[in-house]
Symmetry: C2
Subunit: 245 residues, 2 copies
Amino acid sequence: MTYCLSLLCREGIVFLSDSRTSAGVDNITIHPKMRIYAREGDRVLCLLSSGNLSLTQSVAELIEADMAESGPEGALPCLLNRPSLYETVRYVGEKVRFVRGQDGPAMKGEDLDFYGNFILGGQIGGQPPQIYRIYSPGNAIHASRESPFLQIGELKYGKPLLDRAFTFDTPLDEAVRCGILSLDATAKSNVSVGTPFEVFCYEAGTLDVRRRAVLHDNDPWLREVRDTWDAGLIELVRKLPSPPF
Amino acid sequence: MTYCLSLLCREGIVFLSDSRTSAGVDNITIHPKMRIYAREGDRVLCLLSSGNLSLTQSVAELIEADMAESGPEGALPCLLNRPSLYETVRYVGEKVRFVRGQDGPAMKGEDLDFYGNFILGGQIGGQPPQIYRIYSPGNAIHASRESPFLQIGELKYGKPLLDRAFTFDTPLDEAVRCGILSLDATAKSNVSVGTPFEVFCYEAGTLDVRRRAVLHDNDPWLREVRDTWDAGLIELVRKLPSPPF
């Protein structure tokens, strides 16, 4: 299982992913699900993926092959030369369609889900930062000020915290904390979601990759966040008014 | 959708349920999903249900018909005269099997899920209090000190809080608060789960129904719990250490 999310804020975007992949409980491996593609001063893009690993890896291979062949200025469409985020999202959607068309028919009757979900976000030039969720058929939706976060994979465990504590106006540092708590709640409740957690915190307007981390279980900051959160939650439950019945 | 849960503590058992039933988003109605059957001084049983409403209502009708025909001392097996909780659970499981066998074949091809899940718990005489989850095929599992809560229906949103804040040794009043928070997190994240919330707090050894409430959205205690929790959570996120990256 996988859990990836992206939080769109006034100050920028936070991208987060776990790194656990399972093909049954007896076959759990670690694969990165976050890919960052950037051209400093021009654009920063972050791609998160969930679903069938052969599909999501194939999509990434095709994207990277196009980049190698075309280059940013090349005539061939590639991830780093589309004129807008929307066109970039359409481009990724086409790759998803291509791989599903290529491998999907042979999957029929294999009793497995051959789907892939993606989040693509970032900023191109002076255009506003935005995040999109790309579905298996290649279609996509974007976030908004009213619905400022997108999730893929095992999304339910980590949603209540975001519903209560995160808005478009949440400061970027606080959004990082909300995202980590959402990821950690999921990892605690579903053993197939786990560390290392990858985090990329994009500051709007910088067009550069500056704040990025891979957090393992023994990361001191992650441990402090967990311990403070656990103790604080229990204390908060204790301080709630007693039931009058 | 439905969300019901039961928390087994050293001091007793908390049962909770929402009251919303949906047959599509344009057909949402309110139906109680908690049924309490008691014989003061002898036994207290609480049945929670989720799944297909015609199935869960049929099961309840059959249980109540047996009770009316047999009475507690009667020869006919009924919910209130089984020698143990385990036998009571088996009895309910048989009713579920009966209804599925009766209506299931005609459901084939109707493109709907004809399943029902139940939680049955309580105490009989001097036997220890216990809670069971009964599955659609009629089989069941019980809680333990290590896994002291059971959930049915829309269970993911409300699980992280229980995983962090609830144990078998949590005092009963605090367990009520944990349960309400779990239910409220679910209602906030899934519009098909909603108030009124029903709560039954059984104190071990009393063999009596004393603490019971139906909480509507305007209930002053529920509102105070929500407001305190919302403000406390946001404050707690703010107090977490800042990310070092």
